[in-house]
């Protein structure tokens, strides 16, 4: 091959690459249907998943991020070092240079410190601060280097920085209240407008630090809490993507050549929680009997409508996590065994109880109805009481005045976050301060050890012990990880399901439309 043809080849390759890039950067508007509306867009001030979903990675970026294949990779930080200083550990982050906020201000270490100081300041009263209680201080080393000082090993810090609420960096000196309705960050999208009850519009950040990203010019997030309405809107082309579809709607669009469904497990576990301090649930035999009486496959068939749209689980962990241990086989569906255990526990004829179900979460209400039916078959007379969300929070979550409830609990890939609240919060007298009312001193010691080491294998052993222990004690009945079902136009490309409750808009593009 002579020199000339070689140059030509290069030109062709470059042109091809350019065309590929062009088809990805072709712009366009994406209209997304979301179930729930944010109650504010400053992630330091709100615990709402609906806010997080829009803000995280899109408007405000954290130092690190999770990828679709569950790896942590750099975002506003390019690298970090961990150094052990006895009782403390230093996490030093080197920040990306040339990054600019939506308001034109350059991104520096001061912004990182401001963000976390605000998050941790008791005066801010952030609902998202408690996870970071082990962070002692944040120091600015130079304009592009920042250091987190943690108490002990601070092992969960890296995972939290990539996934927790309130970690998206905001510009130093910004007003907390103003960010609620007009967020400013470094992300690929800028906030444009919010019409309460209707939609939020984001527009392309033309000065984004990653060249060529994002691909879309504009994203409109419409709030359509009614699933039938969002399905109709998708079919009519009024929206291009419906986030978190229910199975009955996903079934309907599968046969539509203009639409497609993308599914994958999410970081959520549906549970049947029991009040472990209230008889008869204070008896581990009763709790085990209930676990045996529940037919997870039947529940998945009736709620997800397709076996592959839900994964049964046996403990407080998502199969997405590298720390996950499969404990589904610990309690196979076995009504005979359930009856025998009830008899052993002193309830040969069962007992009467009530399951409290949270309105408007139809998914849990449906599950609760099936569980009640299954428990009736082993002799437990199970009544249902539907409480609207506010009353559920008050009665079940706050006052612990309940027998059983069906709800979903967030499970993070980082295991420390899963167990911190439900298994470590105790009252002065040593009893549990969480609604499922379970305490175990040995378990609490294990959890402390899990936080105090940075050795992956050691942590994996510890958290495997934790999962086996709570499963043996049948603290609750873990039911399933419902899969996330995303319905969209066939021309929408680049969507991937993340292991956290975020709609990652930066990678989405239109193709062939």
């Amino acid at each position: 091959m002579n020199k000339k043809s070689c140059v030509l080849l290069v030109i062709v390759v470059v042109a091809l690459a350019g065309m590929a890039a062009l088809s990805q950067t072709s712009g366009g508007t994406l209209t997304v249907a979301l179930m729930a509306e944010p109650d504010g867009l400053n992630m330091i001030l709100t615990p709402a998943a609906a806010s997080f979903q829009i803000v995280m990675y899109n408007i405000n970026e954290p130092l690190l991020r999770y990828t679709a294949d569950r790896k942590i990779e750099p975002l506003l930080a390019t690298s970090y070092e961990v150094t052990d200083h006895g009782k403390e550990t230093y996490y030093t982050f080197h920040l990306r240079s040339g990054v600019v906020f939506h308001n034109g201000a350059p991104f520096t270490a001061r912004d990182v410190k401001y963000t976390f100081d605000k998050l941790l300041d008791p005066k801010t009263a952030s609902p998202n601060a408690s996870l970071f209680s082990f962070v002692k201080e944040i120091d600015v080393i130079d304009s592009l280097t920042v250091r987190f000082v943690t108490q002990g090993a601070g092992a969960p810090l890296i995972g939290y920085l990539a996934s927790a609420k309130g970690t998206g960096i905001i510009p130093a000196g910004s007003d907390m209240d103003a960010l609620r309705t007009h967020p400013i960050g470094t992300g690929p999208f800028k906030f444009s407008e919010w019409v309460p009850g209707d939609h939020i519009t984001l527009v392309r950040n033309n000065h984004y630090w990653q060249p060529g990203v994002p691909y879309l010019d504009k994203v409109i997030c419409r709030f359509i809490p009614d699933q039938a309405a969002s399905l109709a809107a998708l079919r009519a082309g009024d929206v291009d993507l419906v986030d978190r579809m229910v199975g009955e709607n996903a079934l309907q669009i599968e046969n539509d050549p203009a639409l497609k469904v993308i599914s994958g497990p999410q970081n959520l576990v549906q549970i049947l929680a029991m009040n472990d301090s209230r008889p008869p649930f204070d008896n581990v035999l009763v709790r085990r009997a209930i676990c045996y009486a529940i037919n997870r496959d039947e529940i998945i068939a009736a709620t997800d409508l397709r076996a592959e749209w839900g994964s049964p689980v046996g403990s407080q962990m998502t199969p997405l996590s590298p720390y996950y241990v499969d404990l589904v086989g610990r309690y196979p569906y076995d009504p005979t065994k359930a009856r025998a255990l009830l008899a052993m526990a002193g309830y040969p004829h069962g007992f009467s109880t009530t399951i409290y179900l949270p309105q408007p979460y139809q998914f849990h209400i449906r599950t609760g109805q099936i569980i009640a039916d299954e428990l009736r078959q082993v002799g437990i007379d199970c009544k249902l009481q539907i409480l609207e969300w506010g009353q559920w929070l008050n009665r079940v979550y706050k006052q612990w005045d309940y027998d059983m409830t069906v709800i979903a609990t967030d499970v993070s890939i980082e295991p420390a976050a899963n167990f911190a609240k439900g298994f470590e919060q105790v009252q002065k007298d040593g009893s549990s301060a969480y609604y499922w009312q379970y305490t175990n001193k040995y378990l609490r010691d294990l959890l402390v050890r899990g936080r105090d080491t940075n050795n992956f294998n050691e942590r994996r052993t510890i958290y495997a012990m934790v999962q086996t222990l709570i499963s043996d004690d049948a603290v609750m009945a873990w039911i399933q990880v419902p899969h996330q079902l995303e319905g969209m136009n066939v021309h929408v490309m680049g969507y991937h399901i993340l292991p956290l409750y975020v709609l990652d808009l930066g990678s989405i593009y239109w193709e062939g439309k």
């Binding site: 109650d39 504010g40 709100t46 615990p47 709402a48 008791p122 009263a125 952030s126 609902p127 998202n128 601060a129 408690s130 209240d177 609620r180 309705t181 019409v195 309460p196 009850g197 209707d198 419409r222 359509i224 809490p225 009614d226 039938a228 309405a229 969002s230 399905l231 109709a232 809107a233 079919r235 009519a236 009024d238 309105q359 408007p360 609207e388 969300w389 506010g390 009353q391 929070l393 008050n394 009665r395 979550y397 706050k398």
Partner: protein
Amino acid sequence: MITYVFRRLLSLIVSCFLISVLVFVVMHVIPGDPAQIMLGTEASPATLSALRVQLGLDRPIYVQYGAWARGILTGDLGESLRYHVPILGLISSRLVVTVPLAILAMLIAVVIGLPAGLYAATRRGAPGDYGVIALSQAGLSIPSFWLGILLMLVFSLKLRWLPAGGFVPWSKSVAGALQSLLLPAAALGLIRAAVVARLGRSSLLEVLGRDYIRTARGKGVREIVVLWKHALRNSLIPIVTVLGMQFASLLAGAIIIENVFYLPGLGRLAFQAIGQRDLPVVQDIVVLVAVLVVGMNLIVDLAYALLDPRIRLE
């Protein structure tokens, strides 16, 4: 007449005051703390009490009532606990859905119901009369939300002519907005058409039986003139009354239809605000609707007096 109006206005104010106290007390004794709902399952007790102070929920209840009532009287409806935006804007953004919905529904009711009723009255005992009677009986027996579901089934799911719910904002497309209102308005309107038809028929029959109509006929006035000039005007009074009341009740009473079609209307806002314990929003809506209902009653009574000189106000 003037003293009567004055007395009615006075009692309107008393009624509204009582309603405002009632709804305020009810909203504050309901279990479920707005701060807790906002924080969900992620709150610590310290965060919770901080948020309660921030929202002003720690003050004594009469102080809160005073602040709220003073605001309303000075035209300040307050701020939503959930959205942190002024409630006035929130309510008016919902009224642009609910008021056109109610108007459209009433239009459908009148355009279909009135001619049907008048037709039946003039053909008394004929098959057409029985047809109208049967249809209006059927209409009165069908729940409007079920009619809505059936309409959605046929026109959205099967034929795909109209959206199955949701609302296209007026600013985006007027035709789109009307399209999203058409099915819910039909569900509400067709039921009310039955009411109008039935009422129109019996009211016209009653008027046609009166002496002056007989006199007019006796004098040889043409039937069409008798109908239009003499009978119709007088038989409209009860219909106007009912329409007025229906319109007022639709503003907050369309909750179920707004839920069926997912319309961001006033009723849905109230429904959601109750669930989220967005106290000031619920209070404002209830008082607003109560004022409208009570006020509409007053207007209807006055209109009655003006249209029918035989009615003497106390």
